[in-house]
């Protein structure tokens, strides 16, 4: 089987491309822009790739820190909002509405009223006596 295959393929060994085809192909290949790496350009490319990679890594780390720090910040600032019942303004409003001095003021008023009226009535009766 193998011998038969070799025997069939042997004539194809002699096949070669034509001179025109060879000239055309060569011209096409030579006309194509060549990409080549010089030793200096390779160094630049590696450097900036490293910088980009490092920057990305740093930025990602910073973002993670900011998120963690932000949560702590909320914890710090959330505490006062949790303590709304100790808010000074609301305490003042409530204490003022209760007005603890009113009782004393009322009792003082009636004491003053009693004294003033008694003094005036004394004057009225004294003046009558003096007539």
């Amino acid at each position: 089987m193998e011998d038969r295959l070799n025997k069939a393929l042997k004539p194809f060994k002699a096949i070669k491309p034509s001179a025109d085809f060879m000239r055309y192909s060569r011209a096409e290949i030579l006309a194509t822009k060549q990409k080549f790496f010089s030793a200096r350009r390779s160094w630049h490319w590696n450097f900036w790739s490293s910088v980009k990679f490092a920057s990305s890594l740093t930025l990602a780390t910073l973002l993670v820190l900011i998120v963690i720090g932000g949560l702590s910040y909320f914890n710090l600032n959330l505490a006062p909002t949790l303590l709304t019942e100790l808010d000074k303004e609301s305490l003042l409003r409530e204490a003022n509405s209760l007005d603890f001095q009113i009782h004393l003021k009322e009792l003082k008023y009636y004491d003053d009223s009693a004294k003033e009226v008694a003094a005036l009535l004394d004057q009225v009766t004294e003046n009558e006596t003096n007539l």
């Binding site: 100790l86 409530e94 209760l98």
Partner: protein, 256 residues
């Protein structure tokens, strides 16, 4: 039987008048401007010359006007007390009945003072009667009425203060994990406020007992009740001072 019926009708009538005259009393206010103005008129007359008969009659009428305003003011305040238990509403009705009698007394005194045929001796007698009535009954009853109103009002004040204390305690529990709020530093004023309100509750209870120490409002010692009412209010006020102290401590902790 007839007397009981007419007395109840009178009280009902006074309540209706009181409610009709009453403005909404969401808090017990200090004396109204009309009352202060009437007292000022009495003071002004006292400081002026009242030698003529007309000025003396005018002085007595000013005193009657002031007294009437004082009584009506207390009737309004008593009428504004709502949802009272039977004991308290009976005592309130008792005060209302006495105050209504005072209005009748004042009306009669006014009629007498306005009598054109009033002699100097009659005028002197009227002034003396008015003075004795005020010294013996009127002044004391008015103070007792004020204290009665305040004993009932204190219950509302205590409820408000206790609600505030409970909410503060709940807030402190929520903030216990905060790194910047040192809950341990806030505990002493909180405990002090709690103690003060407990003491206020005890003195308020004593005030309620003193209200019913006798069967009629004429007999209990108003000076003792004055002190107990004032003590309760003072303790509630001190509790609020502790709340303000806690507010200051928190501001220091947060650097505000």
């Amino acid at each position: 039987m007839k007397q009981i019926y007419s007395s109840k009708l009178r009280i009902l009538g006074i309540l209706i008048i009181g409610v009709f005259l009453m403005l909404p009393y969401f808090k017990v206010n200090a004396q109204s401007e009309a009352l202060k103005s009437a007292l000022k008129e009495v003071t002004d007359i006292k400081d002026s010359n009242i030698e003529s008969p007309e000025s003396r009659v005018s002085a007595i009428l000013k005193i009657i006007d002031l007294s009437r305003l004082e009584v009506e003011d207390l009737i309004k305040k008593l009428s504004s007390l709502e949802n009272l238990d039977k004991n308290y509403s009976d005592l309130r009705d008792s005060f209302l009945s006495i105050l209504s009698d005072y209005l009748i007394y004042l009306d009669n005194a006014e009629i007498e003072a306005n009598n054109p045929e009033l002699s100097p001796d009659d005028l002197k007698l009227l002034a003396n009667n008015l003075k004795q009535w005020r010294d013996a009954k009127y002044n004391n009853t008015l103070k007792k009425t004020v204290n009665f109103i305040w004993v009932l009002r204190e219950a509302d004040l205590l409820d408000t203060a206790h609600n505030r204390l409970d909410k503060i305690s709940t807030d402190l529990k929520k903030a216990k994990n905060s790194r910047f709020i040192k809950i341990a530093d806030l505990m002493p004023p909180l405990e002090k406020a709690t103690t003060l309100l407990k003491e206020a509750k005890m003195s308020s209870k004593l005030a309620h007992e003193l209200l019913f120490a006798t069967t009629t409002p004429e007999n209990y010692k108003s000076s003792t009740l004055d002190d107990v009412v004032e003590e309760t209010l003072s303790k509630i006020k001190s509790a609020y001072q502790e709340f303000f102290k806690m507010n200051s401590l928190i501001k220091e902790m947060l650097g505000l």
